[in-house]
Symmetry: C2
Subunit: 277 residues, 2 copies
């Protein structure tokens, strides 16, 4: 019997390791190998680095395979320890910095915790992010139709088409104040744009979804109800899409997209700025 | 008078461009140069790529400086068009793939939209993410103390110490079901752990914050109130920290950390799994 030996992959950072993890995962997904992933954030000092090095070396010893290491560590003496392990190490930031140094003719000046850190200089921007989250929560699911003049986008759609996760992602990732408003079953007999939304036509953005996928999502929450029936889902989606078209509201079918993709497409289509935090 | 010419930086992807933007930004932050950033997501076809190439070349022509380009595009013919522009192009994924190909002795098999895409194979995981967001919203700010047995972590702290953004980030980024419970001013005379939380001692995690920062945050919302006074903030933080210590609840001071850092530290300390979406 053959034994499949899985290759160990480490994502290591002195920060959250979110970037190392996302990028390293994209790289690894191109290779048809079985892997075991370990993410190690906050590797910030020599002591912790030595422990990580020992962990990498032990796996190398046991499996006879060099672990693959994606790392992002700024402090040279901490990074050097990991680089001297038995792992196959790639520094995800430095790999791109070195060629740029030549192009720019300037030496790089490394900064610790640059990606997802909080500093005095970005505190104001950070407060704007929290304000966007607060706004979005207060204007989720049509809770409040007051203060819509402060919204940067107002998402419309039937129940469970993805409005809430998209709104929260827009606020969290991009600092966008996103309200959302649901069309419910009772609205369907004579579907109109609510009067409160009409002054904000230019901020409206519709989300739609395939009725089959919608029915499957609703079944998870309310099995064997009219709400979750395919017939009801078809009717609601049909009515709402017709409204989007007659009112000339831009819209997107969310069925085959992740929250990240939907949010990014909305920014792109609406011409909204992407902030970074 | 000297004119400062800003260097143009492009973050280009056939997907959301979130990874290109975050990583490229980390790289650029190491160089003391003034830049103008342009992020271009969904560069998926030849036509769009040709338009982007023209945009890069026009800037090069006008400024006399090659734009710096961080890209992540899988389809070879689309990518090749950007690579042939006048920009200084670096492929953030391929740069790490090539050395790995040698180490692994396997040819890579590129996959479009690998990072933030939605496919049949990750739909189940994706539903778990949405379920975590639903759970977290339903258990925000002590709204419901039912179903806490399903929580993976329950955050505790005073009003405006960062519980809600942290809970939402845990759900959105890591698929963690995170409840949170606020201690309010009225609780302070005889601060105790609510009976409903006691069975879940092992899931509790405290957030605290410097009183000065807390007062500044509260002033933004309720200027010149007792709620926002430094004296009140000092008292609340003191009482709650004392409770965390006597009840042996692990806790973290959120003052100098971003939402990403707080969330990642909580996962790390609680030993919770990081999922990726």
């Amino acid at each position: 019997m053959n034994m499949i030996v899985e290759r160990s992959v480490f994502y290591i950072s002195d920060g959250t390791a979110i970037t190392a993890e996302v990028l390293g995962h994209a790289v690894m997904s191109q290779f048809p190998v079985d892997t075991i992933s370990v993410t190690l954030p906050f590797v910030e000092n020599v002591q912790r680095a030595l422990a990580v090095k020992a962990q990498i070396n032990a796996i190398c010893q046991q499996s006879g395979l060099r672990p693959l290491v994606f790392l992002s560590i700024v402090t040279p003496e901490v990074k050097e320890i990991i680089m001297q392990s038995e792992g196959f190490c790639q520094d995800i930031v430095q790999t791109l910095v070195a060629p740029l140094q030549q192009e720019l003719g300037i030496a790089p000046a490394p900064v610790v915790h640059r990606t997802h850190g909080l500093t005095a200089s970005n505190l104001g921007k950070y407060d704007a992010r929290i304000a966007a989250i607060d706004y979005t929560l207060a204007h989720d699911d049509g809770i409040s139709l007051r203060g819509l003049e402060d919204a940067q986008v107002i998402l419309l759609g039937v129940s469970r088409c993805g409005k809430t996760p998209t709104s929260l992602y827009l606020a969290m990732q991009f600092g966008v104040k996103a309200a959302n408003y649901p069309f419910i079953a009772d609205d369907m007999d004579n579907l109109k744009l609510p009067a409160a939304l009409r002054p904000f036509q230019h901020k409206l953005f519709g989300l739609t979804i395939d009725p089959e996928r919608l029915a499957a999502i609703r079944q998870e929450r309310a099995e064997n109800t009219r709400y979750a029936s395919l017939r009801q889902c078809r009717m609601e989606v049909g009515e709402v899409e017709a409204l989007f078209r007659t009112q000339q509201i831009r819209y997107l079918n969310s069925t085959n997209y992740s929250v990240e993709e939907i949010a990014t497409k909305i920014l792109d289509i609406m011409g909204l700025n992407r902030r970074m935090f």
